[in-house]
Amino acid sequence: MLGLNERNIKYIYPKNARENYKYADDKIVTKQVLESHQLACPKTYATISKVGEIESTWSDMKINKSMVIKPSMGRGGDGIKLIHQKKGSWILGKKTISEEHIFTHIANILFGMFSYGKNDRALIEELIVPHPFLTEIYPDGVADIRIIVDDNQPAMAMLRVPTNKSEGKANLHQGGLGVGIEIDTGKLTHIFDGSDFLMAHPDNKQPITDLILPHWHEILELSIKVSEVFPLNFMGIDIVIDQKKGPMVLEINIRPGLSIQMANRTGLKQVI
């Protein structure tokens, strides 16, 4: 098994130059690179870097039916809000929220609440509609695929599925599931909930194992292309599958978590 110390010393430090961390740590920078190489990613509606811009930018945003607001330098999915319009008011999760609430959230992002106090930018982008394959497994939130790419080679992958406990988020440490993926075929293998291996999704008893992920070869190709355009040689790439547009890159991680080994029941050292 690969531990944190070895991951840092043998993979992250020698394979990624410090000055290139920004390509992964700052989502707006990531998207600029992706867009300039025509690699699929959710459409950027706006970026906000000053408090004074919030209100004017927001008035342009109202034409969108739904969107995602993200801190550009947030970590672990914190500060990400998925909102949509219903009868002229904004809904977050199942609750109506005021515009004032949205403004405060954006201001908090800019003040660095989700980026360890560093001034940040807010990213507003298209809310993707997950592929029916994923909503059948679990209807709420967005499941995504994490692929660890080492020297432009996809090494290990897992599907991250939200649960009731994770409140729509797909991160393992927030209660989501990690499902191992057979790298050659896209077949789903083991379901790991952070401490145990399960037979099925814990909330709706949907069997997941042995299903084949749609668009798998496209996903692998996309991850290789992404790894080629970024000056990083060890990273975790997060990919979502949109109902209409297919696989899209969500973000890139310099320090991918190590639970992916659990979901695949294999150590990373065995496959790299």
Partner: protein, 513 residues
Amino acid sequence: MRITYYLLIILPIFWIGLRIAAGYDDDPGLISQLNYEITYEYQIDGRIDSLSIETYLPQNSVRQDVALDSTQFEWDDLKLVTKNENKTLLMGGNFNTDTTITISYKVQSRPIEFIIDEDLTQDDLQPRANEFSLHSPNVSVSIDPEIILLADELRNKADSSINSLSNQLYQYVRDIPSAGQTILMSAKECLELQRCSDIGKSRLLAALFNANNIPARVVGGIILTEGTQSIHRWAEANIGGNWIPFDTYEGHFAQLPSNYLMIFTGDSSFVTSAGNNPPSFKIRVNLERTNHYPNYAILNIWELIDSDIIPLQPLLVLLLLPLGAYLVAIFKNVIGLDTYGVFLPVLIAFALMNMGVMPGLVFFTMIIGLIGILNIPLAKWEILHTPKIVILLTAVAIISLISIQFFFQTGWVKPSATLTFPMIILTIISESFARKIEEESFQEALFIYAQTIIVTLTCTWILSSDLLQNFFLTFPEALLIVAGMSLLLGKWIGLRLIEYDRFASIDKEVKSV
């Protein structure tokens, strides 16, 4: 790089070895000796006619050396006499204005441990006479039937050896919950209340020994720790011709640690004064350190301290901070604990050493609790981040001000403790804590706080060792060793201790849902 870390570790070890070898003739064995300077301070307020004060001074014994500068006694109204085996200082005179009299002496003490001869049996004891008295004069214990009853009961539980009997008596008194030190109480009161001060416990134990016809007495002295100290009492029993110490309050059976200074026998007051306006009295203990290895020192830190260029405390912080941070690094990279910041646990450790561990912990936890509670409404009202932190810091400042007053008034924290340093640390930790609550959850914030405390307590325990402090003060070259070991740790790729547990579940059976 390999050469760098070998040099960083081996060269300083070699150098320190050389310095020890060069200094060895002067003082075999010890890195440095600890001397304590004890000062009695009598504060006389206003005009007093014919005041007389009586105090005790310690004497030399196998376990303590006392150096008294007699020139300070060249004063007409001051007399040194021996009274009931005790070296007694008598002072008197008329005073017209506020006056402070100080008497000081130096001591060095060693630990002592007795082994009670297993062959000594109760048959060797004289049968109890109808009338018995305590060996020590002035022990305010009545020959109480209840104490005699208890003494008999405990004697029946013991086997025939005196060692076993002593153990029974000691353990009984040791198990009585402790009340605050220096609360005056008799043996009988201690027995009835079942919550005793040091003097209450010592009187009860002495009485129990006496009731079994083993001569026993109460003695008084000081526990040598820097700062203002009060008189501490323990008991002594004469077994096999030796006066053997038993401290049921601090928990020492037939032994005393090195920091005990015995001053007088008997359980009378330490200071007695005649006159309607008794002076206030204080005992101060200062630690003096002597360097025995000044040869080939690249930097003689002891000289810096002696010349009063830099006070000891900040120097210790500078010297021990890297080692403390290294300990935190071990906790993080080898064990896998998560803490608030890298240096915070070390800084809190220094704060605890400054404030005292218990008051410090209570103080920190109180602040953390307050931040947690305050955070609820502030999050609900959606206050912007930076102003919110300002509000939290204001709360920290206010509660600190209130608790400083409380701590000092109750005497829980030594007035000499500087609180500015802990305050700054608190400010940082409250910020980290509030941030954690927002970013993760209150439970997660608390969980990391618990881990921070574990790391902090370990650092406090290690860094407050006199031996370690003296070592770094004598051999600051050791800092290079810390750097070398950190380089090694920085290239260590083993699994962290908690990762073994984390990855162990890879072989688990699949669970049905």
